[in-house]
């Protein structure tokens, strides 16, 4: 049991990192990584939403969709659950932690369309994870996202002063450097603890 949880978490953070090996959540990864502060805020918000969404969607899937033979409605239900969840988190933060709310700003509602969140929920269903495994996969997947976005934000701060061809300005140079980071993460592939 414990070994299973450990291997799921290690897999989600390093070996099958959501961004560098599964390409889930690239839009906010490229969009919110110009500054370290926004990167950290986005990372925390994603960890929070991914963990909650995994837990809630598991319950919804098990006791509502499977029980009523409505598995074909999974995608539709999941995206609605995520949208409602993000809305709730937004309201809660606005009331109780206004400083974090203002720091996250526009990025909070945008998490709804982050494919890492919907992706982790769909992968949980695909891999037949139980409640604990789903939640752990959600939280550690979010941690992997945060690790990636923070690493990339520090690379991008240096990139400002780099000298590269004019046509690579903007997204292309970011993609190429993200590719190099993903090459580094490939070193973890094939790693097994137990």
């Amino acid at each position: 049991m414990l070994t299973n949880i450990l291997s799921i978490s290690l897999g989600a953070i390093l070996i099958n990192n959501f961004i560098f090996s599964q390409f889930l959540g690239c839009c906010p990864f490229l969009g919110c990584s110009n500054k370290m502060d926004t990167a950290v805020g986005m990372g925390i918000a994603v960890i929070f939403v991914m963990g909650l969404a995994s837990a809630i969607c598991w319950v919804v899937n098990e006791y509502l969709l499977v029980a009523l033979n409505l598995e074909f409605m999974q995608t539709l239900t999941y995206i609605l659950v995520i949208a409602v969840l993000v809305q709730f988190v937004e309201m809660f933060l606005k009331k109780s932690v206004p400083s974090l709310y203002s720091a996250l700003g526009i990025y909070l509602p945008l998490i709804t369309t982050n494919c890492a969140v919907l992706g982790v929920v769909l992968l949980n269903t695909q891999n037949n994870y139980n409640f604990l495994e789903s939640t752990v996969y959600g939280i550690t997947g979010g941690m992997g996202f945060m690790l990636a976005i923070c690493l990339f934000a520090s690379v991008r701060e240096k990139l400002e002063f780099a000298d590269y061809p004019k046509c690579f300005k903007g997204f292309p140079i970011c993609l190429v450097s993200a590719g190099l980071l993903s090459l580094a993460f490939m070193g973890f592939s094939g790693m097994k603890i137990f």
Partner: protein
């Protein structure tokens, strides 16, 4: 309604991936064989066109505050339909694209077009916008697939050519040079990032060159007109 202009915008000047730079997750993830690329491209094209038409048709009765929620429900409905159809009729594609078919729901291209185009434009224009933007997306996917497959594995048309018993999605494609001489890195996730980055850079270069050329031409025309004017004045 200007179909020619929309065609040009969708494929080149306002291409969803290369110019608007949205919907990149799936572009980088699934472009490993021609079969995946064409399958994904066509799925997005169909979903985009259907969603554009429906959203444009109901654009006047959608309350502005909850429009995004309605867009998402419409999109999720069509994605579910396509997902189930693929599972039933092209199981190989469904298996190899995996989680990326349901993830079309959160693909920025579809919600982006709904937000930027369909909620202001009539049904006809939205229909063509869906088709041309979808075609632009498919073209980018095909270019990336061909490039990554050829230089990565030395093959062409994986999944479509040399199929086993004629079942689509089973073949390895035509081997042009032995796979061991290919740059394996291109078929790995790294290749996806690098390939798309380079492609966008090439596009930016081409667009800037054509803009410069246009400017130069305009300046020359202006100079010629001015010269003609002075010549006229001198003659008078």
């Amino acid at each position: 309604m200007n179909i020619g202009k929309q065609f040009k915008e969708g494929l080149v000047t306002n291409n969803p991936v290369l110019v608007q730079q949205i919907g990149m997750c799936a572009t980088m993830a699934i472009t490993t064989s021609l079969f995946n690329g064409i399958g994904m491209g066509l799925s997005v094209l169909i979903i985009l066109t259907c969603c554009n038409v429906v959203i444009s048709a109901i654009r006047k009765i959608i309350p502005n505050e909850i429009r995004l929620a309605i867009f998402v429900v419409v999109i999720a409905g069509f994605v579910t339909i396509v997902d189930l159809l693929l599972q039933a009729f092209v199981p190989a594609l469904s298996a190899s694209l995996g989680v990326f078919i349901p993830l079309i729901v959160v693909n920025c291209i579809i919600i982006g077009r709904a937000e930027a185009f369909c909620q202001h434009e009539p049904v006809g224009a939205s229909f063509f916008d869906g088709i041309f933007q979808g075609l632009g997306y498919t073209c980018v996917l095909i270019i990336m697939c061909l490039f990554r497959e050829f230089f990565g594995k030395g093959s062409f048309g994986g999944g479509l050519i040399n199929t086993v018993n004629g079942v689509i999605g089973t073949g390895n494609g035509v081997q042009i040079f032995p796979a061991k001489y290919g740059a394996l890195i291109l078929t790995l996730p790294v290749g996806g990032f690098m390939c798309l980055g380079t492609l966008i850079a090439v596009m930016q270069y081409a667009l800037r060159k054509s803009a410069e050329k246009k400017e130069l031409k305009e300046r020359e025309e202006k100079a010629a007109a001015a010269a003609a004017d002075t010549a006229k004045e001198v003659a008078e």
